[in-house]
Chain length 442, copies 2
């Protein structure tokens, strides 16, 4: 993408309304724009990051055996009356009447709808296990939306729903998703710690929140330091294998970790003092096993191998992509701006033309842009008329991992500078060497 | 994808509520499920097609120079009061009040919001031309939703919005999108004819509907037969070049074509009788140039090269992906089911194991599945326990372009059958020859 043809409205000033660094940087870099309280547009730069985060989530959901569909945003009130949550959900549910005066709602979550889909098609244990997910907008009418897309009203959620014949099957499903979440957050550059958590309005028997540590987190969390070093399940993980799933789950639940709602002072105090971690955290995922809560109320049953009807056991598993993006920024930035982890950055490489209009600079930039693009990189070429200082500041604040700087003096020797955004390390080399180095490091 | 692990609930019976073939086939094959009147879930098979259609739309939008963002579904009523459309829009607009009693609405389109975004960031002609698009859910509270996702209430729309300094610039933007639409529909296997059209509630001076001919179409259309043979702009089309855009536009508007609202009997009668086409059509795209209608009302101005303020000229450009999917089916099916054009099919190839559990069949299927997958194909392997006849019917109805049939008798000679879904042509060859043939034809 040539910056002269892109739409990336960088703000010169820090927006006053931003209380936390991710919100400030997302507004400054033109990633998002608030349309109404808690309702945001994802501008082109932000949309690129959001797409890449979604792609990672999707890959790991698919790897674990979950299947993607797409449920609508609007739901009929009837479904929620069946489960009993229509009245229970309170003011966070956005209730709507259509032109025929039928009561509807903007889905805050989809347990009811997916259970309705399940019961209408699946009649036999032979079709189990089943895990269906979608990445779809939700609306929760928060009384105090804040921190940009960290706590917004209209937000994107990946929500998966598992169906199993019995509790043992459902626990395997839960552990599959547990392992998939560990992989997902790791690929997003985050160390997320699964913590025992309250089940809230979803309900159920077993629940973990995945929390990343950050000073701006809304939750107070307590855990063992060992979590910082635990291994992440590899790409070759066999999610079908019960023993593997058990081993991962046991490892990652072998140490104390709890949010304040579930905190047990005595258990935490039993940890040697130097190994305790008491910090603030951001919830980036939440998984639930709730047995037959919805399947019972809504009649989701299958014939078992014994020829009898069984009410299915369910779980649900959420990740909020529109919250993950600011969470990643909270975890990865410096005074100059965002530092995107590889694979999530809006562009892989930014080529900075220090003197647009200079023949040698333009030619070298054109070659870098074209060759790196052909090699499969997402390249941003800063071909605008801005002065070099402004271009450097822009490249830093938007956090593209690698900068290739093309200036008139060095290009006279056929050389460019390659800068690593994270470490600040710079290296001077020929255009060809730069291309070869970047392609080799892919 | 192994069918035994996929979720594809094929219905045995034709659903009674379906009046047109696409609706019937989408329900039969488990592509969609109705949740409420005019509100659908896209089940996994349908979601795969929808994703591929969106990918084609996105590629062609990007190629033409448009930039993707993502606006929210809910909008504040205030914005629409500014443009004057809040009262004008009528009952199709879903009006909502949030917990603070603020009037909001589920966006039926985004002219107001994009104009608001534009005016808050763009102040100079130097940032023009600009075309911003998103692919986002819309809601229109149709009095009579019908034909499945062909006319639903919650639907997906790709809507692009162009901003230019003057009318000449806006006409170039209009013609860019005109050419992009020709390419898009062609890649989706459709012959879409641009027809002069009424501008409806969007308003404006110039408008074309892109119509495909189909007996089940809701519009009556009239055009010259020459449209069926016109060339589609190539991949190397230079969208920046005004002369190229003019040439394409002139060619494709050189013959009579109008919907019934804009029909002129006399002009149509002037066409020699054998060259007239009077038929029913499905609208698959609609483009508008409406000058300063919204920019004037909402104060979207830029400084021109003359140092003076200019109210920008705008256009908007819509395609409905959730309507395109059934439109493609209307245009491409036979008595046995859907016939997907290449590139849009939910899977590229289906490997049918006629006797799951038979060692030779299982081994050959495993190899085909693995090798074709590695070659980059989306492969569905029917490894279920169903009888062969049922598997053939399923492969036909879901419309995957190529079937590779592995049966115990032919595999004893090391052979499989390759069937073309569209022509019905079958060829027997070795497993290796089948793989080579399919990879070579990619």
């Amino acid at each position: 993408m040539r910056l002269s043809r892109f739409f990336m409205p960088i703000l010169k000033e820090n927006p006053k309304e931003a209380e936390i660094v991710s919100h400030r940087l997302m507004l400054r870099t033109g990633m998002i724009r608030q349309q109404s309280a808690g309702i945001y547009t994802w501008l082109p730069l932000g949309k690129r990051v959001l797409d890449k985060v979604n792609a990672v989530i999707r890959e790991e959901q698919n790897r674990s055996g979950a299947i993607e569909l797409l449920m609508p945003t609007l739901q009929s009130a009837e479904l929620w009356q069946e489960s009993g949550r229509y009245d229970a959900y309170g003011k966070e549910m956005l209730r709507i009447k259509d032109r025929q005066d039928r009561p509807m709602l903007y889905g805050p979550t989809n347990e009811e709808m997916i259970t309705d889909i399940f019961r209408s098609y699946v009649k036999s244990y032979r079709n189990l296990p089943l895990n269906l997910y979608h990445i779809q907008l939700k609306f929760r009418d928060e009384i105090r939306p804040r921190f940009g897309t960290m706590r917004s009203r209209e937000f994107l959620m990946k929500d998966a729903y598992s169906f199993d014949l019995d509790r043992a099957g459902a626990e395997h499903a839960y552990k599959r998703m547990f392992a998939a979440y560990l992989r997902t957050f790791d690929r997003l550059g985050l160390r997320a710690i699964p913590m025992r958590a309250d089940t809230g309005p979803i309900g159920g028997n077993l629940s973990h929140e995945f929390i990343i540590l950050a000073d701006t987190g809304e939750s107070e969390v307590f855990c063992h330091k060992d979590f910082l070093g635990f291994d992440i399940p590899g790409e070759d993980t066999n999610f079908d294998d019960v023993a593997s799933m058990n081993a991962i789950f046991e490892k990652w639940t072998s140490r104390y970790a709890a949010t304040s709602e579930m905190h047990e002072e005595a258990a935490f105090d039993a940890i040697p003092e130097g190994e305790r971690l008491s910090a603030r955290g951001i919830e980036v995922g939440h998984i639930f096993y709730f047995g037959t809560k919805y399947s019972e109320a809504m009649g989701a049953k299958v014939l078992g191998p014994d020829g009898k009807e069984h009410t299915v056991h369910m779980g649900s598993y959420g990740i909020g992509p529109t919250r993950l993006v600011p969470a990643i920024i909270e975890a990865s930035h410096d005074d100059n701006g965002i530092i995107w982890p590889k694979g999530i950055a809006p562009f892989d490489i930014v080529v900075i033309n220090m003197k647009t209009g200079d023949d040698a600079c333009d030619t070298a930039c054109g070659r870098l842009y074209s060759d790196l693009g052909k090699a499969g990189f997402d390249v941003l070429l800063d071909d605008t008329d801005e002065r070099a200082g402004g271009k450097f500041a822009t490249a830093d604040i938007i956090g593209v991992p690698v900068q290739v700087i093309v200036g008139p003096r060095s290009i006279a020797n056929g050389e460019v500078e390659v800068k690593d955004r994270k470490t600040g390390a710079r290296e001077t080399m020929t255009v060809e060497a730069a291309i070869n180095k970047l392609v080799a490091a892919r």
